[in-house]
């Protein structure tokens, strides 16, 4: 066997292993989805829940969905929440993996462009100036405001970084600066607001949570997340090449500045369309890509999809735990991801066999 054949065999073997790893994570995700739908306050358990879902998903079979109460709990409360957790986890993780790659920095999260503070500030403006009371139920004013302020942060970061040549350093520094600006404004608006209830609502929003999940919201953010993720995955080779530096990327035919600008936009769209609905959910976007790196390496063709699966798995697991641990009350998912995720992440960091980043 010649060297080329040997290499090809090794490469194919590696590819199969990566696909197998992703399949395993996918199976784990399905298991957690089923478990999550079957658990929670209210009576429906596994069989009833599956009965409702199959009846709703396959209406042409005319299956019996069961009693109305069960239908409501499963179909309008638990299932949308599970789907939103999957979509949000996947979208945030895709954004995190892509941004780490494009900015060549493993410490970068999807909030590096200042979007979390900007979204928080936008939401606060809506809460305080909009109605002045908690209007979470149908609060598209808050959602819209949070989304728009994410885009404003993006435009500001892009304009500042552009002046200094669009390098990863300038983007990161501009992002940190704009993030600080918005968090100062956020503190200011909380401080001067006379309405204590509104301030409480803001604090609650900032913690992030999936309890606002409705089918309507899922139908808005899922298409954005899907399209943006596909566009990100399409850039995989370019992002791989960026790992060796902007000059080398350019010598390999990749316009690093355009790649950076495109992915800043994609990343903001994905993150903003999620956190506008869920509030700021941290940590998933940082930890999921790193778990994926440890599982199957740094080739973004596999890394981005695997990060999405891991992100969905992590966020859904954390939300399920948060829902059940002090039932009937709930812990916000952001607190659970950090409390459970950080020790796990440190364990992985300490025990990893091979360095996946430097």
């Amino acid at each position: 066997m010649s060297t080329a054949d040997e290499l090809k065999t090794l490469y194919q073997k590696g590819k199969k292993r990566k696909i197998l790893v992703m399949l395993l994570v996918f199976v784990a995700l399905i298991v957690v989805i089923v478990v999550s739908i079957s658990l929670g306050s209210g009576s429906p358990r596994f069989t009833e829940a599956m009965q409702v879902i199959s009846a709703k998903l396959l209406p042409f079979l005319n299956l019996d969905a069961g009693p109305d109460m069960t239908q409501t709990i499963v179909w309008t409360i638990r299932f949308p929440r599970v789907i939103l957790a999957v979509v949000a986890g996947a979208g945030l993780a895709a954004a995190g993996a892509t941004m780490q790659g494009v900015l060549r920095n493993p410490l970068v999260s999807s909030y590096i462009l200042g979007v979390s503070a900007a979204a928080g500030f936008g939401a606060s403006l809506a809460v305080i100036l909009g109605v002045g009371v908690i209007t979470f139920a149908g609060g598209y004013l808050i959602v819209g405001n949070a989304f728009i302020f994410c885009l404003i942060a993006l435009v500001l970061v892009y304009s500042i970084a552009r002046i200094r040549g669009m390098t990863s350093e300038t983007v990161i520094l501009a992002g940190v600066a704009i993030g600080l600006l918005f968090s100062a404004l956020l503190s200011l608006i909380q401080y001067i607001s006379p309405d204590r209830d509104a301030v409480t609502a803001i604090v609650f929003w900032l913690m992030g949570g999936l309890n606002g999940a409705t089918w309507e919201r899922i139908l808005i953010c899922t298409p954005i997340v899907v399209v943006v993720s596909v566009l990100m995955i399409q850039q995989s080779w370019n992002i791989n090449v960026m790992s060796m530096g902007a000059d080398v990327a350019k010598s390999l035919g990749v316009n690093s500045k355009r790649l950076l600008a495109t992915n800043m936009l994609l990343e903001t769209l994905a993150t903003a369309s999620i956190i506008a609905f869920t509030g700021v959910i941290g940590f998933v976007d940082l930890i999921a890509p790193h778990i994926a790196r440890m599982l199957l390496g740094n080739d973004h063709r596999y890394l981005i999809p695997c990060s999405m699966l891991v992100g969905a798995l992590v966020l859904l697991s954390a939300d399920t735990v948060g829902r059940l641990i002090i039932a009937p009350a709930e812990l916000p998912v952001g607190i659970v991801t950090s409390l459970l995720g950080v020790p796990f992440f440190i364990y992985l960091l300490v025990n990893r066999r091979r360095q996946s980043f430097h």
Binding site: E6, L10, R104, L252, V254, F357
Partner: protein, 275 residues
């Protein structure tokens, strides 16, 4: 492959780095760019490769203005090896060399891609490292991987920025022999920026000597490496003799004009203090 550089000037924020550089490089030629730190060697390489954008018609590749070619077209003609290479994330040697196929790959790699990667790993004698991680390798091994990556682009012109500066004598010779044989056998022109005048003298067909962004001398090692040119470009007195391989050999003479006297005084002052 024919490279022609025509009145090339380049400035960083209105500080001129290169001024009116003229140069022609032919097929299978190995050219070394020498000159003091800050004389514009790296900038010249980056201008040729369009990493830095040049003015119209200042860099011509096979008669075509490089300024009007897109990055992908350029990446199929020229390979670039930077001064130092780091990878932000861990990739295997195979993955890094495969990046050289980027201009040709859409999503999946073809049989041709893995053949070329295997051939380049073999050519550089690093086939046994293919599944090691790039960042775990020694400096010399890393440099070979990066050269293999550039060669996987199947370039007609290879640009290298001080490829041997941080390597031991064995790796220096290995790399330069590889580059030389590449120029001779693979119909690839090679342009190397380097500091070591003796290695440049020994391995290059022609030398380009830069002084403060201008071409000071260009030609065979014998014509460029003279005691006069080196003194006026580097400000260092040297003796140029024939080496046993019959190429010019530069031996720097330590003189007081080199600031050596001041250094001696400073050192003796330190010595005096410590006593």
């Amino acid at each position: 492959m024919k490279l022609k550089i025509n009145k090339l000037s380049f400035s960083y924020n209105s500080t001129p780095i290169l001024e009116d550089v003229e140069l022609e490089v032919g097929l299978g030629e190995m050219l070394c760019i020498v000159g003091p730190n800050g004389s514009g060697k790296s900038t010249l390489l980056k201008c040729i490769n369009q990493i830095l954008k040049t003015e119209q018609n200042s860099v011509l590749i096979n008669g075509q203005d490089a300024n009007t070619m897109n990055l992908k077209e350029l990446s199929m003609i020229m390979g670039y090896v930077p001064q130092s290479s780091t990878s932000a994330f861990a990739f295997t040697v195979f993955d890094v060399v495969l990046m050289g196929r980027k201009p040709y790959i859409n999503w999946n790699l073809s049989d041709r891609d893995s053949e070329i990667v295997a051939e380049m790993l073999d050519f550089l004698g690093i086939g046994s490292l293919s599944m090691r991680h790039f960042t775990e390798l020694s400096g010399g091994e890393q440099q070979k991987v990066i050269i293999a990556r550039a060669l996987a682009q199947q370039p007609q012109l290879l640009l290298l920025d001080e490829p041997t500066s941080s390597l031991d004598i064995k790796h220096q010779l290995e790399i330069l022999c590889i580059l030389k044989s590449l120029a001779e056998t693979k119909h690839c022109s090679v342009i190397v920026a380097m500091h070591d005048l003796n290695l440049a003298s020994r391995f290059s067909d022609r030398l380009l000597m830069l002084k403060r962004g201008c071409v000071f001398a260009v030609g065979t090692p014998e014509s460029v490496l003279t005691e006069e040119t080196i003194e006026s470009v580097y400000g260092v007195k040297v003796r140029v003799s024939k080496s046993i391989l019959n190429c010019p050999q530069v031996t720097p003479l330590v003189s007081e004009a080199n600031g050596f006297k001041n250094a001696k005084i400073a050192l003796s002052a330190v010595a005096a203090k410590s006593e």
